[in-house]
Symmetry: C2
């Protein structure tokens, strides 16, 4: 790409990029999926320093000059899950960027690390295979991570002392923010449909709200709202056979619709 702005080429030829102390730019991925009705996030147990033995969000460095953070997120996501994310068409979205100098101890070696955090949603991801720099990788139920306490400990620069797996860096903070983003987005978007495999029943979809919000909307009212929102779900002609262990009428199967937004939004019960 050439500039068409007079004088700029000469300026750039003489530019000293070393005049600025270097930052590192990384991406951190909050990969959420629902397993057995429980909202889980992918974490990797670190095998190397820093934070050796702690659990961290998957991610990695943005390749300098060759990709954007968005592209790095797609690349890392495919590497971590072993799936071609661009083909899969899963949801991926930037959440926030974390730049506190103290967030990565490598600042003591002169490296200021900024990280762009993403949220990825997928239905029923396969169990991950550990990468090269990861001792173990698994999906943790977010309820088991004691996020509020870990985030408070990080904020106060204390070590977290509790039974939950200790999170590396500021990842308790990042995961909290990402979780709140997902919870909020279920209110006004059709994002919930990204958590289920097609075809799905309305009860499947409702279980997503149960898992993410911690409670289920009223069954009949939920059905009414979903079916009256144009383009949220598309009915098929098929019914799912009733489960072998439990009875009940066979439910109609649905596919994801094209609508992105729910208007007026779902109302979440703030009291819980």
């Amino acid at each position: 790409m050439t500039t068409h702005r007079p004088g700029e080429d000469a300026y750039l030829a003489a530019y000293d990029a070393g005049a600025f102390p270097p930052f590192a730019l990384t991406v951190d991925l909050n990969i959420f999926t629902i397993r057995d009705g429980v909202l889980t996030a992918l974490l990797i147990e670190r095998g190397d320093h820093p934070f050796k033995g702690f659990w961290a969000l998957p991610g990695g460095h943005v390749e300098h000059g060759r990709e954007s953070a968005d592209e790095a997120a797609v690349r890392e996501l495919s590497e971590e899950t072993g799936l071609d994310w661009t083909r899969l068409g899963g949801h991926l979205e930037q959440v926030a960027t974390y730049t506190d100098p103290d967030r990565d101890p490598r600042i003591r070696a002169g490296l200021h690390v900024a990280s762009v955090a993403y949220v990825a949603l997928a239905p029923n991801l396969p169990s991950p295979t550990a990468g090269t720099d990861a001792a173990r990788a698994r999906f943790w139920p977010v309820e088991d991570l004691d996020l509020d306490a870990q985030r408070a400990a990080w904020h106060d620069r204390r070590a977290y002392r509790g039974d939950a797996p200790a999170l590396a860096y500021d990842h308790a903070l990042i995961l909290s923010d990402a979780l709140e983003r997902v919870r909020a987005k279920l209110e006004y978007s059709t994002l919930a449909a990204q958590f289920v495999t097609e075809p799905f029943t309305l009860a499947d979809l409702r279980r997503v709200y149960q898992a993410v919000w911690g409670y289920a909307p009223d069954l009949a009212n939920f059905r009414r709202k979903v079916l009256k929102t144009p383009g949220f779900v598309v009915p098929t002609e098929e019914y799912r056979p009733a489960a072998s262990d439990r009875g009940g009428a066979p439910p109609l199967l649905y596919l994801r619709g094209t609508a992105q937004w729910i208007n007026p939004p779902f109302v979440r019960d703030r009291a819980g």
Copy 2:
């Protein structure tokens, strides 16, 4: 701050920060205010390369190892507006981070520049004084910036050819995203009150919606909604004297309330 993680000190002492090619980290500020009923954004005409003579969002480099992007945003904001932003208590919020290698031509000199964008809102800011690296600074009505066309031109890597002031870097894209964030946020938050000086009338508040959304909600219904939302505004005992040129009943004056969210949200007319 010392780590309490075994082995990490030794690791850090031997760490080579130069192993990663350097990024630069900057902040870009979308400073919105309403003047004469028109939504405006602060822009600075660049006096130096790159993009000499173009109009850019105010901002600057994050100071390596000494501050976060949030802190840099507050610092730059105070410098650009000449006001102590922490005292002023104005609204400041991160929007998104832009990391495309091509977004800054200094990539050709080996510098990959990532920028964290912020939105700042304030009532009636004073006219800015030009900084050292700025030839001129002024508030531009966002309607006059031809944002859609400039953003499309940037996306297609074409030069923008139009009558609006040419925007530097990807700032048309950033400004578009920030504007949409503000428009959306008026729906479900009490952010509009950040645009008016206290004390204010309900008509003042309604003019904020007029300026940001491009149309005004129905007068009586707007009053009903605002007054029925607990903590949005707090009535005083004072009335504002009617304007000298126009008649009309003297309106009651209000202060900002403590509520952050409007539930259920305002509904924006998507068509209008």
